[in-house]
Protein backbone atom coordinates (compact mmCIF):
# COMPACT_ATOMS: atom_id res chain seq x y z
CA UNK A 1 0.00 0.00 0.00
CA UNK A 2 1.50 3.30 -1.06
CA UNK A 3 0.40 6.91 -1.43
CA UNK A 4 -1.25 6.39 -4.81
CA UNK A 5 -3.14 3.29 -3.61
CA UNK A 6 -4.55 5.27 -0.70
CA UNK A 7 -5.61 8.17 -2.89
CA UNK A 8 -7.28 5.74 -5.26
CA UNK A 9 -9.14 4.11 -2.38
CA UNK A 10 -10.37 7.52 -1.20
CA UNK A 11 -11.59 8.35 -4.70
CA UNK A 12 -13.41 5.00 -4.89
CA UNK A 13 -15.15 5.61 -1.58
CA UNK A 14 -16.43 9.02 -2.64
CA UNK A 15 -17.37 8.01 -6.16
CA UNK A 16 -19.06 4.74 -5.31
CA UNK A 17 -20.47 5.15 -1.83
CA UNK A 18 -21.21 8.83 -1.24
CA UNK A 19 -25.01 9.00 -1.54
CA UNK A 20 -26.14 10.83 -4.62
CA UNK A 21 -28.42 13.82 -4.15
CA UNK A 22 -32.11 13.10 -4.17
CA UNK A 23 -34.60 15.29 -5.86
CA UNK A 24 -37.23 17.17 -3.95
CA UNK A 25 -37.67 20.12 -1.71
CA UNK A 26 -35.50 18.75 1.11
CA UNK A 27 -32.50 19.41 -1.10
CA UNK A 28 -33.25 23.12 -1.02
CA UNK A 29 -32.61 23.20 2.68
CA UNK A 30 -28.93 23.52 3.52
CA UNK A 31 -27.43 20.79 5.64
CA UNK A 32 -25.98 23.48 7.87
CA UNK A 33 -29.45 23.85 9.40
CA UNK A 34 -29.68 20.23 10.42
CA UNK A 35 -26.12 18.94 10.80
CA UNK A 36 -25.34 18.74 14.48
CA UNK A 37 -28.98 18.62 15.49
CA UNK A 38 -29.16 14.84 15.60
CA UNK A 39 -26.23 14.83 18.02
CA UNK A 40 -28.12 17.28 20.21
CA UNK A 41 -31.22 15.05 20.06
CA UNK A 42 -29.12 12.02 20.94
CA UNK A 43 -27.66 13.82 23.98
CA UNK A 44 -31.21 14.67 25.07
CA UNK A 45 -31.81 10.92 25.18
CA UNK A 46 -28.67 10.47 27.30
CA UNK A 47 -29.87 13.18 29.72
CA UNK A 48 -33.34 11.62 29.73
CA UNK A 49 -31.92 8.18 30.50
CA UNK A 50 -29.97 9.49 33.51
CA UNK A 51 -32.88 11.51 34.85
CA UNK A 52 -35.19 8.51 34.59
CA UNK A 53 -32.85 5.80 35.85
CA UNK A 54 -30.80 7.73 38.45
CA UNK A 55 -33.21 10.42 39.66
CA UNK A 56 -36.42 8.37 39.23
CA UNK A 57 -37.98 11.24 37.31
CA UNK A 58 -40.75 10.70 34.78
CA UNK A 59 -40.47 12.62 31.52
CA UNK A 60 -43.39 13.53 29.28
CA UNK A 61 -43.38 15.21 25.88
CA UNK A 62 -46.14 17.83 25.65
CA UNK A 63 -47.51 20.11 22.89
CA UNK A 64 -47.01 17.60 20.13
CA UNK A 65 -45.87 14.12 19.24
CA UNK A 66 -42.60 15.16 17.57
CA UNK A 67 -39.55 16.07 19.60
CA UNK A 68 -38.47 19.50 18.45
CA UNK A 69 -35.13 21.30 18.28
CA UNK A 70 -34.58 24.77 16.87
CA UNK A 71 -32.37 25.96 14.00
CA UNK A 72 -31.36 29.01 16.05
CA UNK A 73 -31.52 29.79 19.77
CA UNK A 74 -34.05 32.07 21.38
CA UNK A 75 -36.50 32.42 24.25
CA UNK A 76 -38.84 29.72 25.51
CA UNK A 77 -41.79 29.54 23.13
CA UNK A 78 -44.59 27.82 24.99
CA UNK A 79 -46.36 26.82 21.79
CA UNK A 80 -43.42 24.51 21.01
CA UNK A 81 -43.18 20.95 22.31
CA UNK A 82 -41.17 20.50 25.50
CA UNK A 83 -40.42 17.72 27.95
CA UNK A 84 -42.06 17.99 31.35
CA UNK A 85 -40.14 16.55 34.29
CA UNK A 86 -42.08 14.84 37.08
CA UNK A 87 -40.98 13.64 40.51
CA UNK A 88 -43.43 11.45 42.41
CA UNK A 89 -46.22 12.51 40.05
CA UNK A 90 -45.63 16.26 40.52
CA UNK A 91 -44.33 18.39 37.66
CA UNK A 92 -41.17 20.04 38.92
CA UNK A 93 -39.26 21.24 35.87
CA UNK A 94 -39.21 21.42 32.07
CA UNK A 95 -36.58 20.45 29.52
CA UNK A 96 -36.16 22.78 26.53
CA UNK A 97 -33.64 22.94 23.73
CA UNK A 98 -31.74 25.81 22.06
CA UNK A 99 -32.64 28.42 24.65
CA UNK A 100 -30.93 31.68 25.54
CA UNK A 101 -30.91 32.52 29.24
CA UNK A 102 -30.54 35.93 30.86
CA UNK A 103 -27.18 36.28 32.52
CA UNK A 104 -26.12 36.76 36.10
CA UNK A 105 -24.51 40.08 35.14
CA UNK A 106 -27.78 41.32 33.66
CA UNK A 107 -29.64 40.34 36.82
CA UNK A 108 -27.18 42.45 38.79
CA UNK A 109 -27.43 45.46 36.50
CA UNK A 110 -30.05 48.16 36.76
CA UNK A 111 -30.99 47.89 33.13
CA UNK A 112 -34.55 47.00 32.21
CA UNK A 113 -33.93 45.94 28.64
CA UNK A 114 -31.35 43.27 27.88
CA UNK A 115 -28.80 43.80 25.12
CA UNK A 116 -27.26 41.09 22.95
CA UNK A 117 -24.52 40.40 25.49
CA UNK A 118 -27.10 39.67 28.18
CA UNK A 119 -28.18 36.32 26.71
CA UNK A 120 -26.22 33.12 26.27
CA UNK A 121 -27.33 29.97 24.53
CA UNK A 122 -27.39 26.50 25.96
CA UNK A 123 -28.32 23.54 23.78
CA UNK A 124 -30.33 21.76 26.47
CA UNK A 125 -31.83 23.36 29.56
CA UNK A 126 -33.77 21.99 32.51
CA UNK A 127 -35.51 24.92 34.17
CA UNK A 128 -38.27 25.81 36.60
CA UNK A 129 -41.67 25.07 35.06
CA UNK A 130 -43.93 27.64 33.44
CA UNK A 131 -41.31 30.15 32.25
CA UNK A 132 -42.19 32.29 29.22
CA UNK A 133 -39.47 34.08 27.27
CA UNK A 134 -35.87 34.11 28.42
CA UNK A 135 -35.21 32.14 31.61
CA UNK A 136 -33.23 33.89 34.33
CA UNK A 137 -29.88 32.42 35.35
CA UNK A 138 -31.28 31.38 38.73
CA UNK A 139 -34.15 29.38 37.22
CA UNK A 140 -31.75 26.89 35.63
CA UNK A 141 -31.33 23.42 37.10
CA UNK A 142 -29.14 21.99 34.39
CA UNK A 143 -27.52 23.34 31.23
CA UNK A 144 -25.89 21.24 28.54
CA UNK A 145 -23.61 22.10 25.62
CA UNK A 146 -23.35 19.54 22.79
CA UNK A 147 -20.39 19.52 20.39
CA UNK A 148 -20.08 17.07 17.57
CA UNK A 149 -16.79 18.65 16.54
CA UNK A 150 -13.23 18.63 17.80
CA UNK A 151 -13.16 20.18 21.26
CA UNK A 152 -10.87 23.20 21.22
CA UNK A 153 -9.47 25.77 23.61
CA UNK A 154 -11.97 28.38 22.40
CA UNK A 155 -14.86 26.07 23.32
CA UNK A 156 -13.40 25.66 26.80
CA UNK A 157 -13.18 29.44 27.16
CA UNK A 158 -16.78 29.70 25.97
CA UNK A 159 -18.12 27.26 28.54
CA UNK A 160 -16.11 28.92 31.32
CA UNK A 161 -17.85 32.17 30.35
CA UNK A 162 -21.23 30.44 30.43
CA UNK A 163 -20.44 29.12 33.92
CA UNK A 164 -19.50 32.64 35.01
CA UNK A 165 -22.80 34.02 33.77
CA UNK A 166 -24.82 31.29 35.47
CA UNK A 167 -23.40 31.36 38.99
CA UNK A 168 -20.79 32.69 41.37
CA UNK A 169 -18.05 30.35 42.51
CA UNK A 170 -18.92 29.25 46.06
CA UNK A 171 -18.45 26.44 48.53
CA UNK A 172 -20.42 23.39 47.46
CA UNK A 173 -24.19 23.93 47.35
CA UNK A 174 -26.95 21.38 46.99
CA UNK A 175 -28.28 21.08 43.45
CA UNK A 176 -31.86 20.19 42.54
CA UNK A 177 -30.71 16.61 41.97
CA UNK A 178 -30.12 13.76 44.41
CA UNK A 179 -27.46 11.98 42.46
CA UNK A 180 -27.12 12.81 38.77
CA UNK A 181 -25.47 14.83 37.38
CA UNK A 182 -24.35 16.13 40.78
CA UNK A 183 -25.67 16.33 44.30
CA UNK A 184 -23.47 19.37 45.00
CA UNK A 185 -21.78 21.98 42.88
CA UNK A 186 -19.36 24.83 43.78
CA UNK A 187 -21.76 27.46 42.47
CA UNK A 188 -24.48 29.81 43.62
CA UNK A 189 -27.15 29.52 42.23
CA UNK A 190 -26.29 25.78 42.18
CA UNK A 191 -26.93 24.97 38.54
CA UNK A 192 -25.28 21.95 36.92
CA UNK A 193 -23.38 22.52 33.69
CA UNK A 194 -22.39 19.69 31.35
CA UNK A 195 -20.43 19.44 28.11
CA UNK A 196 -20.89 16.49 25.76
CA UNK A 197 -18.60 15.98 22.81
CA UNK A 198 -18.36 13.26 20.22
CA UNK A 199 -14.57 13.63 20.38
CA UNK A 200 -12.45 11.88 22.96
CA UNK A 201 -10.18 14.94 23.24
CA UNK A 202 -12.85 16.77 25.24
CA UNK A 203 -11.56 15.04 28.37
CA UNK A 204 -8.19 16.80 27.94
CA UNK A 205 -10.00 20.05 28.70
CA UNK A 206 -11.93 18.88 31.76
CA UNK A 207 -9.57 19.95 34.60
CA UNK A 208 -10.84 23.56 34.95
CA UNK A 209 -14.33 22.09 35.15
CA UNK A 210 -13.38 20.21 38.33
CA UNK A 211 -12.81 23.56 40.00
CA UNK A 212 -15.72 25.51 38.52
CA UNK A 213 -18.34 22.76 38.49
CA UNK A 214 -18.51 21.81 34.83
CA UNK A 215 -18.68 18.15 33.87
CA UNK A 216 -17.23 16.97 30.57
CA UNK A 217 -18.35 13.78 28.82
CA UNK A 218 -17.25 11.94 25.70
CA UNK A 219 -20.33 10.48 24.02
CA UNK A 220 -20.48 9.16 20.49
CA UNK A 221 -23.46 8.65 18.27
CA UNK A 222 -24.64 5.05 17.99
CA UNK A 223 -23.09 3.13 15.10
CA UNK A 224 -24.59 0.30 13.15
Amino acid sequence: MNKEDLKERITEIFENLFPSATEGETDLIPRSLTDGKLYEAYIVTIIAEHLVTKENFTLKLVNGNHFQLKSSPGPINRSYPCIEVYRSGRMIAELWTDIEYLTLSYANSNRRTPNRGDYHELDILVVDPGIKGYPQHDSIWLGVECKNTDYTKSLLKEILGVRRELSLLQQNRRTKFNQWPRREVPADPPSCLLVYSSRKGVIDYSDPGDFFGIDFFHEQLPRS
Binding site: P30, Y42, T58, D150, Q220
Partner: protein, 140 residues
Protein backbone atom coordinates in the same frame (compact mmCIF):
# COMPACT_ATOMS: atom_id res chain seq x y z
CA UNK B 1 -6.65 -4.27 2.54
CA UNK B 2 -7.77 -4.20 6.17
CA UNK B 3 -4.89 -4.87 8.55
CA UNK B 4 -2.32 -4.30 5.84
CA UNK B 5 0.94 -3.67 7.66
CA UNK B 6 2.98 -3.21 4.54
CA UNK B 7 1.96 0.43 4.15
CA UNK B 8 5.01 2.51 3.45
CA UNK B 9 4.14 6.17 3.23
CA UNK B 10 6.48 9.04 3.96
CA UNK B 11 5.25 11.65 6.48
CA UNK B 12 5.05 14.33 3.78
CA UNK B 13 2.89 12.08 1.60
CA UNK B 14 0.17 12.12 4.26
CA UNK B 15 -0.18 15.85 3.58
CA UNK B 16 -0.88 15.11 -0.08
CA UNK B 17 -3.36 12.37 0.84
CA UNK B 18 -5.10 14.75 3.26
CA UNK B 19 -5.40 17.31 0.47
CA UNK B 20 -6.82 14.62 -1.81
CA UNK B 21 -9.37 13.59 0.84
CA UNK B 22 -10.41 17.19 1.51
CA UNK B 23 -10.80 17.93 -2.20
CA UNK B 24 -13.34 15.09 -2.46
CA UNK B 25 -15.22 16.38 0.59
CA UNK B 26 -15.26 19.89 -0.84
CA UNK B 27 -16.54 18.67 -4.20
CA UNK B 28 -19.32 16.45 -2.85
CA UNK B 29 -20.28 18.22 0.34
CA UNK B 30 -19.37 21.93 0.64
CA UNK B 31 -21.18 22.23 4.00
CA UNK B 32 -19.29 19.27 5.41
CA UNK B 33 -16.06 20.73 4.09
CA UNK B 34 -16.69 24.05 5.81
CA UNK B 35 -17.46 22.24 9.02
CA UNK B 36 -14.24 20.25 8.83
CA UNK B 37 -12.14 23.32 8.09
CA UNK B 38 -13.75 25.34 10.84
CA UNK B 39 -13.99 22.82 13.65
CA UNK B 40 -11.11 20.44 13.18
CA UNK B 41 -8.18 20.66 15.57
CA UNK B 42 -5.31 21.60 13.25
CA UNK B 43 -2.66 22.03 15.92
CA UNK B 44 -0.57 18.96 15.39
CA UNK B 45 2.81 18.40 13.80
CA UNK B 46 1.78 15.11 12.29
CA UNK B 47 0.16 15.10 8.85
CA UNK B 48 -0.87 11.51 9.47
CA UNK B 49 -2.66 12.59 12.66
CA UNK B 50 -4.40 15.37 10.71
CA UNK B 51 -5.52 12.94 8.03
CA UNK B 52 -6.89 10.54 10.66
CA UNK B 53 -8.67 13.43 12.42
CA UNK B 54 -10.23 14.59 9.16
CA UNK B 55 -11.46 11.10 8.28
CA UNK B 56 -12.90 10.37 11.72
CA UNK B 57 -14.54 13.77 12.05
CA UNK B 58 -16.06 13.50 8.62
CA UNK B 59 -17.28 9.99 9.43
CA UNK B 60 -18.88 11.46 12.54
CA UNK B 61 -20.68 14.01 10.39
CA UNK B 62 -21.86 11.21 8.13
CA UNK B 63 -23.06 9.31 11.20
CA UNK B 64 -25.58 12.07 11.83
CA UNK B 65 -26.94 11.50 8.35
CA UNK B 66 -27.38 7.79 8.85
CA UNK B 67 -30.82 6.26 9.06
CA UNK B 68 -29.53 3.91 11.77
CA UNK B 69 -28.45 6.79 14.04
CA UNK B 70 -31.76 8.54 13.51
CA UNK B 71 -33.83 5.46 14.31
CA UNK B 72 -31.72 4.63 17.39
CA UNK B 73 -32.12 8.17 18.71
CA UNK B 74 -35.86 8.08 18.18
CA UNK B 75 -36.07 4.66 19.84
CA UNK B 76 -34.18 5.98 22.87
CA UNK B 77 -36.50 8.99 23.09
CA UNK B 78 -39.46 6.64 23.13
CA UNK B 79 -37.76 4.52 25.78
CA UNK B 80 -37.26 7.35 28.27
CA UNK B 81 -39.86 10.00 27.37
CA UNK B 82 -43.60 9.36 27.44
CA UNK B 83 -45.71 10.87 24.67
CA UNK B 84 -48.51 13.21 25.66
CA UNK B 85 -51.04 11.33 23.63
CA UNK B 86 -50.90 8.31 21.41
CA UNK B 87 -48.50 5.47 21.82
CA UNK B 88 -45.17 6.96 20.74
CA UNK B 89 -43.13 9.98 19.76
CA UNK B 90 -43.31 10.05 15.98
CA UNK B 91 -40.15 11.88 15.02
CA UNK B 92 -37.51 14.53 15.57
CA UNK B 93 -37.72 17.90 13.86
CA UNK B 94 -35.97 21.25 13.74
CA UNK B 95 -38.14 24.36 14.01
CA UNK B 96 -37.05 27.10 11.60
CA UNK B 97 -36.76 30.77 12.47
CA UNK B 98 -39.37 33.16 11.03
CA UNK B 99 -36.93 34.31 8.35
CA UNK B 100 -36.02 30.73 7.40
CA UNK B 101 -39.71 29.86 7.23
CA UNK B 102 -40.18 32.59 4.62
CA UNK B 103 -37.23 31.32 2.57
CA UNK B 104 -38.01 27.60 2.67
CA UNK B 105 -41.80 27.82 2.92
CA UNK B 106 -42.07 25.46 5.86
CA UNK B 107 -42.12 25.74 9.63
CA UNK B 108 -39.82 22.86 10.42
CA UNK B 109 -37.54 20.21 8.96
CA UNK B 110 -37.99 16.57 9.86
CA UNK B 111 -34.63 15.06 10.72
CA UNK B 112 -35.30 11.81 8.91
CA UNK B 113 -32.28 11.41 6.62
CA UNK B 114 -33.16 11.69 2.95
CA UNK B 115 -29.98 9.81 2.05
CA UNK B 116 -28.39 6.92 3.88
CA UNK B 117 -24.70 7.34 4.63
CA UNK B 118 -24.29 3.97 6.38
CA UNK B 119 -22.12 2.28 3.71
CA UNK B 120 -20.10 5.42 3.16
CA UNK B 121 -19.47 5.75 6.91
CA UNK B 122 -18.43 2.12 7.17
CA UNK B 123 -15.92 2.59 4.35
CA UNK B 124 -14.47 5.64 6.10
CA UNK B 125 -14.05 3.68 9.33
CA UNK B 126 -12.23 0.93 7.45
CA UNK B 127 -10.05 3.52 5.74
CA UNK B 128 -9.21 5.06 9.12
CA UNK B 129 -8.24 1.67 10.55
CA UNK B 130 -6.11 0.86 7.53
CA UNK B 131 -4.16 4.11 7.84
CA UNK B 132 -3.87 4.04 11.64
CA UNK B 133 -2.52 0.49 11.54
CA UNK B 134 -1.20 -0.72 14.84
CA UNK B 135 0.40 2.52 15.94
CA UNK B 136 -1.90 3.21 18.88
CA UNK B 137 -3.92 6.09 17.46
CA UNK B 138 -7.19 6.88 19.23
CA UNK B 139 -10.21 6.83 16.98
CA UNK B 140 -11.70 10.04 18.39
Amino acid sequence: MEGDNSMVIAPDDFREILKHFLSHVQKRDPVGYDKLMTHMEWETDSAKRLLLNAISMYAELGQMRSTYTHSETLARLNEFVEPEKGSRIHGIRVALSKEEQKIYGKEHIDLTPSQDFSKFNQALHELWQMIAGNEGYDHE
